[in-house]
């Protein structure tokens, strides 16, 4: 049995920040990461981040990942286990992991769940054809491994991910034939939308996928226009060729582990689906289990990092690792989280978080 003060499940932006904060407060931390490297999805984010200086604004995601990784490797209180998938969470606090093809047990005194999210899918005919990829997969192929996902792409989803990935596709030399969205309005920031429009890519709203075509791989797609009630308009179908149909229709929190120990959950569409209820300290209905990042509700990497810091500090505090600057740091992080979710852009998230509040 491996013992530690704090187990952090997931080494993405939220998990890395949680580990750093808990370790700086004095707790011994192990980070469990299922892939070969820390960084999570930051490693494929080539765009510059928004927010303030504290949230690494105007730095690119993969550079932020490097900064956090360096801080972790220099921190004596943090052990990193990569290729380590947490597969079970038990009511007595034990975690079971698969590491190096072996089954191992871990007994932490507190746990931060920072498992992230998985990509949502869309129902349409032939939606299982090869060449129909999630937007994250497209980013991984082209931004991490330098492989073009296709020669011509139709992007499904005009939220920020769809818009940003469309731009990244063009940077990689791939033609984007259109960005479509079932909603009547573009969901992402207009600054991203105008950038790709200027490059000649049409953004078609009130449009959805009817059928993908192809035998072994996708070769094209039939699209259809929707009316104000999101019903298909008869005879409005049209065809676009593509060898990559990129699906950017949102993410669902990865919450399986929390279900396993009966943590109180809530269905919150604004946050991507079922999320654990938590208080503002990111503490769940199991007091020794904290949550951060997309696993607590899908937002973006900046708020995931702030949530990670809040969860890490509180996990340490829960175990008695309380330093003179714990409270001032927490106050700062709460303020940063509020500011990231302020204004009309954060309205949906704020409404969602209210529904996920732990009484």
């Amino acid at each position: 049995m491996i013992k530690t003060d704090v187990a952090v499940i997931g080494g993405g932006p939220a998990g890395m920040c949680a580990a750093i904060e808990a370790a700086n407060a004095g707790a011994k931390v192990i980070v469990f990461e299922r892939s070969r490297n820390l960084g999570g999805q930051l490693v494929k984010q080539t765009h510059m981040f928004f927010g303030s200086q504290k949230q690494y604004a105007s730095k690119r995601g993969f550079d932020i990942s490097k900064i956090l990784r360096d801080q972790i490797s220099q921190n004596k209180n943090i052990t990193v286990m990569t290729d380590a998938t947490v597969i079970g969470m038990y009511e007595d606090g034990v975690l079971t992991i698969e590491h190096d093809n072996k089954y191992k047990k871990v007994l932490p005194r507190a746990t931060v769940v920072a498992t992230g999210a998985s990509e949502k899918f869309l129902p349409f005919n032939n939606n299982d054809l090869p060449g129909i990829y999630g937007a994250g997969a497209v980013q991984t192929l082209m931004n991490v491994y330098g492989v073009k996902p296709g020669d011509q792409v139709v992007m499904v989803g005009a939220g920020n991910i769809g818009l940003i990935v469309s731009y990244q596709l063009m940077q990689a030399g791939v033609k984007v034939n259109a960005v479509i969205d079932a909603a009547p309005r573009i969901g992402g920031y207009l600054v991203h939308a105008s950038k790709i429009r200027r490059m000649g890519v049409p953004i078609l709203t009130s449009t959805t996928v009817k059928t993908a075509h192809g035998t072994e791989c996708v070769e094209g797609v039939t699209l259809v226009k929707l009316d104000e009630n999101w019903k298909e308009i008869p005879d409005s179908e049209f065809y676009l060729p593509c060898d990559n149909l990129c699906i950017a229709v949102g993410l669902s929190p990865l919450t399986e582990l929390m279900w396993q120990i009966g943590i109180e959950m809530a269905y919150v569409p604004q946050l991507g689906g079922y999320v654990p209820k938590s208080n503002k300290n990111m503490q769940t209905s199991r007091p020794e289990v904290f949550v951060a990042g997309d696993a607590s509700g899908v937002e973006e990497a900046s708020s995931a990092m702030v949530e990670g810091r809040i969860a890490g500090l509180n996990a340490a505090k829960f175990l008695g690792y309380y330093t003179t600057d714990t409270d001032s740091k927490l106050a700062d992080y709460f303020e940063q989280a509020d500011s990231l979710r302020s204004g009309p852009v954060g309205e949906k998230i704020r409404a969602g978080l209210k529904l996920a509040e732990l009484d």
């Binding site: 999805q41 990509e119 054809l129 090869p130 994250g136 491994y145 940077q171």
Partner: protein
């Protein structure tokens, strides 16, 4: 299908290795996922389903969705979107569930 020039990124490439996929010899970079090397070689259909024999490719590319399972060096159900490529790997398309050898 490799990106030759990129305005922001430089790609660290491992040494070139060769591997086989369904008996055909391909080359890729050591350490990149098998599926990435296959994709760069134009191979995007990675298997067929056990019931309706529909073609399967990758979907998430980060080991979440199990759409890319293949047999690697005799071991079935390997997620080749995250499995690192090594010299001489024998990768075969899996049609259906795959069989564990005793």
């Amino acid at each position: 299908m490799r990106i030759e020039k990129h305005p922001i990124l430089t790609f660290e490439k491992g040494e070139t290795v060769t591997f086989t996929y369904n008996g055909t010899v391909y080359s890729g970079f050591k350490g990149e996922p098998i599926a990435s090397a296959l994709h760069a070689n134009g191979v995007r259909t990675l298997g067929h389903t056990h019931d309706k024999h529909r073609p399967r490719g990758l979907y998430c590319a980060i080991g979440n969705c199990s759409s890319c399972l293949a047999t690697v060096n005799g071991k079935p159900n390997v997620r080749i979107c995250v499995e690192p490529l090594t010299e001489g790997m024998v990768v075969t398309q899996q049609n259906g569930r795959g069989v564990l050898k005793k």
